[in-house]
């Protein structure tokens, strides 16, 4: 057990937990940030994806002790109040979800992609999103949503009013 300080969604938290615990477990069980999902537990499906210092990381295989003071962003921290992030808006507009269990991870990965490459080609999107699995088969719409978010121009920022 150790007291670990974390910076998540612009807030600071401290948790008493074994540093070997996965970041996903801490988010979900200790901090009630259940938007990040457990899908496979071994970094293969992408449902647990969060941003750590802007990079997409699988929180289920990220040990808490390795995070330090890096900035963590989860799906809950993406919108600014009622202002959805451009990628969230695009997923809604395109209807890029069915059961939605992969959606948090998809959106977080897409945000990381657009941060690195603001106007990716279709094949660049497909390559980058390769580690995120959707079992309902919404891939074509996910690609469209990311393209929409990219062309909306300010993909790295929250944009558009929520419903």
């Amino acid at each position: 057990m150790a007291t670990i300080r974390l910076a998540i969604n612009q807030k600071s938290y401290s948790v008493d937990v074994d540093p070997q615990t996965s970041l996903l477990t801490v988010l979900r069980e200790y901090l009630d940030l259940t938007g990040s999902k457990y899908g496979c537990g071994e970094g293969q499906c992408g449902a647990c994806t969060v941003l750590i210092d802007g990079k997409a990381q699988r929180s289920c295989v990220t040990r808490l002790g390795s995070v330090g003071q890096k900035q963590i962003t989860t799906i809950e921290g993406l919108a600014h109040g009622d202002q959805l992030h451009a990628v969230q808006r695009a997923f809604l507009d395109v209807g890029a979800l069915q059961c939605g269990y992969c959606t948090s991870g998809m959106i977080m990965s897409a945000v990381a992609l657009l941060k690195k490459n603001p106007s990716p080609s279709e094949s660049e999107i497909v390559d980058f999103m390769d580690g995120n699995i959707c079992r309902c088969g919404t891939y074509p719409r996910i690609v469209s949503a990311i393209q929409n978010a990219a062309t909306s121009g300010s993909a790295g920022e929250a944009k558009g009013a929520s419903r």
Binding site: K37, L97, Y101
Partner: protein, 446 residues
Amino acid sequence: MNPKLGVEVPIEPERYELRAAAPYCFDLDRREFFKFLGAGLVVVSVLKTAAVAQESGGNRQRRGESLPNDIDAWLHIGDNGKVTVYTGKVEVGQNIRTSLSQAVSEELHVPVESIEMVMGDTQLTPFDMGTFGSRTTPTMNLQLRKVASAARDVLIGLAAKQWNTNPQELIAIDGKVKEHAGERSIEYAALIKGQQLTQALPAEDPLIPASEWKVAGRPAAKVDGIDFVTGRHLYPSDQKLPGMLYGKVVRPSAFEATLVSVDTQKAEQMGVTVVRDGNFVGVAALNSQLASSAAAAIHAEWKAEPQPSNKDLFDYLRKNVMEGKDVTGDGDRFDTGSVDEAMKSADHRLQQTYTVQYIAHVPLEPRAALAKWDGDRLTVWTGTQRPFGVRGQLAEAFHIPEENVRVLMPDMGSGYGGKHTGETAIEAARLARAAKRPVKVVWTRM
């Protein structure tokens, strides 16, 4: 070609999955309805087609439908104008929460946003056999359109009475009844004000033809989509209760293995609840890490019969044909005869062997359940396509009446036909009973 093969065979759950289903005989009691719902208008749908199908066609037609004379849905319009629809169908990603809302919106002439769908809650919704085989749109969608249409007619009737006019002079539009030619208009809420009205579906009530639909059958945004893109939606595996423990089950070494001996001493020293019950060994702990460590500290010895490997599976199946036994119960659905004879008399022959691997459904959200006991009353939140089936399994497993069991199905991370049964619900309830606290079990992939 055998014409019988051209008959559409609906995709259905395995027969064993239907064993636990018991009909829920709902007695329509106005007082009960309004005690729970508050004043308003209730329209009830009784599934008559099921009774007709049973008389004319035997088992095949009845499967996958509700049972005769069952109420399969109802709709409530509160005297605040709020529309609530109750159905035992569940949302697993096929987006019926949206499509059924559209159907009601179309016939009732209210915005989609004003409709709340209560789904798959065994205490609040009518019995439903389950959500599978793409049956929701041909059956429940139609029933809800009828219910909404009947509700609209009642509202028009109320306005006609109030204004002392002919109902044919009136139309429903945007949550109001209006005069076709005149000026008068009144909101649904105002028509219902303080009353307790019930209506069963009339035998014949013309519905709006599909060619005239403005809302139903058209592209629409997922009604609660915003909750999904913001991470707010709570799936079965996200459920939490105060004082809840995390459960972990010690899995057998092989399919149908039996427990020979088990040493739980180390686990018990870790401050967790350990349950040993027949072949079931599990723990409940304050967090999932501790539950995993405690389960790993349990030393269990299993006795397993030798089983065919994946490689030998098809040979094994060929050599172990179950003669004379129709374990599936599906025999009546197919013609049986001699393949050799048929081949001999065939004009064209093609001999080829095809094998298909056993495949798993693998929904992205694993099986999950949260169970809570209050005395001998059990409440379980779980991801299932058959909440009423799971209720029956829980009642059977714990020897309690079905009325003591409530199963709730939060919209889940899909199932693809693989979440029909209640294993996880039973595991969580077993652990919760021993721990005397709510317990959540989420299966892992490892």
